[in-house]
Amino acid sequence: MLIGRDETRCTGCRTCQLACALCHFKENNPKKSAIGIMGEFPAPGKYHISLCTQCEKCIDVCPEGAISNVKGIIKIDPDKCTYCLACVDACPFGAIFTHRDFKIPFICDVCGECVNICPTKALYWKE
């Protein structure tokens, strides 16, 4: 299962980011979310959602071999990661995130909290 994105339904409310950070870090901080929401205003007037599609490009570029796909979840091994950010630069979807509080990047682990809370079904389960 993967999480699908329908950008035409996204309202930019960022509730998904709140839920994501609460689930993974128990912190009320949308800046610690593995989902990116970016507006394009005043024109054309739409939102873009950045979310891992499991393309595995990050696995290919990681010089330390720290990233792997474990049963459908992209994981970064904190012992191997050197915070070189090659994965962040290489991600075609801008879906690998960092925060100054953490020493490794973070990626969606398909927990589905965002799908549960998204008020407009812009995020949904996809086979």
Partner: protein
Amino acid sequence: MKPGYGGRILRIDLSEGKITKEPTPDALIKDYLGARGFIVRTLHDELSPGTDPLSPEALFITATGPLTGLFVPSSGKIQSGGKSPITGGYGEANSGGHFPAELKLAGYDMIVLTGARDKPCYIVVDDDDVRIEDAGELWGKGSITAEEMLKKNLGEDFQIATIGPAGENLVKIACITHDFGRQAGRTGLGAILGSKKVKAICVRGTRTIPVHDIDGLIEVGRRMYQQCFTNPAFELWQTYGTSAVVNWANRIGAFPTRNFQGGYFEQFTNISGPRMRKDIVLINKACFSCAMCCGKYSRTTTDDYDVHVEGPEYETTAMIGGDCALGSIKDIAYANYLCDEYGIDTISGGSIIAFAIECFEKGIIDEKDTGGIKLKFGDAKGVFEMVKKIALRQDIGDLLAEGATKASRTLGKGSERFAMQMKGLEQSGYESRRAPAMLLSYMTSDIGAHHRPSWAVTHDLATGRDSVEGKAEKVIELQHTRPLFDTLGVCRLPWIEMQVPVSDYAEAYRKATGIDYSEEELLGISEKIWNLTRMFWVREIPGFGRAYDFPPARIYEEKLKGGTTDGGILERDKVEALLDDYYKLRGWNQNGIPTPEKLKSLGLDWVIKDLK
């Protein structure tokens, strides 16, 4: 660390360029909760009585509440305030978008600006790094244009509030715009920023907002979201937002039409929610953490214009549509865009233009005053031109920029009778001659004739549209409940439209802060704040009293024209009776001034000195 709060107050003395950060005092948190409470207490403490609102000594304050930015539906709200340039009394405006949560994530509960720059500037708050930058070519630009330029310069992840040319020109109905279309619209606060030469405030925050009981907050937050998701009206609200109110307001005859000459606009189906959705809306656009997404982002296109605009919201459609008799949603949206870009409040702007049109039609002003424009109800081009003239203070626009009260006093010839304002603030979008509780809401609102503190039209429908008995009690209840949302830093709409109970907000407050206030105690603080805003008027306006709560004569002298409220009027003795009841229930004297006993009972002994 103060759970539920950003924890710091940011003070910027613009004259000196001095920036200080101080911990948010525990006593302020305990006694005034946040946002609105912080603003009114700070104004009492730090603004010298009688200060000119546009002088360097004046204060501009913007403040979040304890629920702002938290996992609670629609927690993206902030209050901005100061001594109002248009009324001279308590000035406050509520706004949403993403700036409020961002400020809290940067670790601030409140920004207090004092002094003024010599040269135009903008303020950058980047977590702990706060700086004042030269505005350069931003000065003179429209609000939306300036926001776009700043985003390009600073980065997409900054949240930015700007003023337009109207704020720069000290137009007294100037607003503050953020997120390409959300406004702190009312009471002319954009002019205070303009007087301080502050073009914009730009914020980025990455800190975690501390929470007392995070699991408890998640639980109550989830319950509140579920209440929204499962409400039968949820989808309807998402589809139309506040524009859904247009049809209803016309059906019940409460839609301001032709400067409040009537409560029914015969072309309303052309400007209704469904028509707007079909003709101009591109996407739904929400404030932070909001499930309801009232915001409708639109593109309005004809041979004459092609612009993107957020809205129009109900209030804009009412005041520019009905009140100026514009029967095209595209034209209303374009006027909305002009107001946003030039930086004027669409409510006061629509109202003042409607007033000017009526003056023109009655021969009180003519083409010499308007710079050659023939004003006429229903003529969109005249409305477009007037928005610009007010913002740029050209021709009659210079006088109208002072507000309807000053304009009507200057023009005379009976125009005071139809300058639709109370306490100097133009009335917002509900005609209320046949809604006495709503009228009383406007009369006694603590910023002037605005619907935010109390909105009671449905109460009037349920309890009698001409009766005044029992109305004051309801208005007082609403004036404590609705502003509580503004104090907590959340939007009231999930409560009103999705029936999320107040008790859930009280629980969320306790989980967030660890402060054990009950719902009743929170409402008690709301009453204290209400009395304190009243005392600000008492302090600032010589001779303040009952006369300031009175509506314009049109309300009790002229019958409504058209629609289901045709012929409706509220006689003067009923207006007086509403105030008599209200003052008595409030514990104020019959001149509308809080008594020393009342103030003492609310723990406001320190303000008794201002009773003079």
